[in-house]
Symmetry: C2
Subunit: 233 residues, 2 copies
DNA sequence: TGACTTCGTGTTGTTTGTACACGTACTATC
DNA sequence: GATAGTACGTGTACAAACAACACGAAGTCA
């Protein structure tokens, strides 16, 4: 550890943080993970997980580090969203924040209690309390981005288990896009892209006829993408 | 002016800059504006216009200020692109840069010589020299974004004069998307959106039959957008 | 007046999108 | 073991959108 206890610059510098909007899919709703703040400002309020960027790490690294420190999540889909810079967005001092969004499957990524004992919880995206800082605006931006991207990039699969049924996939699209889709037409389109691998397994433990499980063929998708293929649902 | 000559913090802080990718449309090609660097590092190399963010301004404000200072451009279309944060992207010290892209019409926005005497020039986007810092990567990201957005947002009009011909519009799409479009089909689609206002003027000073001039109906576009309309070309 | 350039316009065949219903497989309960 | 309940998996027909394609008219210039 360096002994230095302060750093001096010729001009004032704002601080730089990352904030993560973590989306998860419950069987019934699209959820977002929030953390209850300990220290002021906004003590006790809910906020997005995030924190200060260190001087020797990239923003992606910072986002992944904070995500793991505060929620235990590792190796998730994570993408930069937007950089927020309102001068008074943090009441303490100037803070610019680079927002990220992450997509995880709730079943395969149980969220551990945060290591520093702050409480983490899932909220339905249409049922979040008032948030600290400008995190409400960040969340709204993330939702818009997710809705936009879902149509023309295969990011929805990040919200599902590796093996999933076509009904689960359709349900996910209906939840995010907020409109109903026709079952037969949806299946026709999805399968016509030829990017799903039909496994020989079916759903377990359901109280009705079990549906077939599929996997997303990511290798094939990447191959096709390089050849100019354009995903769209 | 404050008397203080230094600012001290408990932890080291990187600097924050903005960089602008300014696209302009010449009659024959899509161009990008570059500035020749004076001081080291990368002295004499071409780079994107940009500079340090002040502690009391937003990123948008910083981008507009730098754009005006270095190129004289004001009141242009400007949108945040991405934030670049490779630890060694600036050899002097840690610098995180928020990239913006701007779209201007070359005829209506002649670029003045930069006030601080650095040279500014336009380059065809496929004909740029090796750039300072990671500006080559930033430019490539901006090009990808422009190509992607052109399809589903009416940003192309920013590159044209207020009154333009359908051929100019088509030409722009062909230049950016890098493929030929069918004239009759293009016109049919554009006009069917009913967002262009036919003026009673025609092109001037051309050595052939003059084409009719149109204007983009931005008010109507905004109105329709609020009602759920989705632009697509 | 003739040569040259760009403008502006419709139709047809093909592909894609959309609307729509029912028998089957399996589980749980009585 | 019969029955009720639930979600699964499938095809067709009509409408709309897309793609391919050519030529006469308007205007300038020499």
């Amino acid at each position: 550890m360096p002994v230095a206890t302060s750093y001096t610059y010729k001009y004032p510098r704002g601080a730089l943080t990352v904030d993560c909007v973590v989306f998860g899919l419950d069987d019934s709703a699209l959820k977002v993970m929030l953390i209850q703040r300990g220290p002021p400002p906004f003590e006790g309020k809910w906020a997005l997980p995030g924190g200060f960027v260190r001087v020797d790490e990239t923003l992606d690294q910072a986002a992944r580090r904070e995500l793991e420190e505060e929620t235990g999540l590792r190796q998730v889909f994570l993408e930069q969203l937007y950089t927020f810079s309102a001068v008074d967005r943090d009441p303490r001092e100037r803070v610019v924040s680079v927002a990220y969004y992450a997509l995880i499957n709730l079943g395969e990524h149980p969220v551990q209690a945060a290591s520093d004992a702050r409480e983490a919880a899932w909220f339905g995206v249409h049922d979040v309390p008032s948030l600290a800082f400008d995190h409400g605006e960040i969340l709204q931006t993330a939702l818009d981005r997710l809705r936009g991207k879902l149509r023309y990039q295969p990011i929805g699969f990040e919200l599902l288990p590796k093996k999933f049924t076509l009904s689960q996939l359709q349900h996910l699209y209906e939840l995010v896009l907020e409109r109903e889709l026709d079952k037969r037409n949806f299946r026709k389109r999805v399968l016509s892209m030829d990017l799903l691998i039909e496994t020989d397994e079916v759903q377990q433990d359901v109280a009705h006829r079990a549906a077939r499980l599929y996997r997303f063929d990511e290798r094939k998708y990447r191959r096709l993408t390089k050849a100019g293929f354009h995903f769209e649902l």
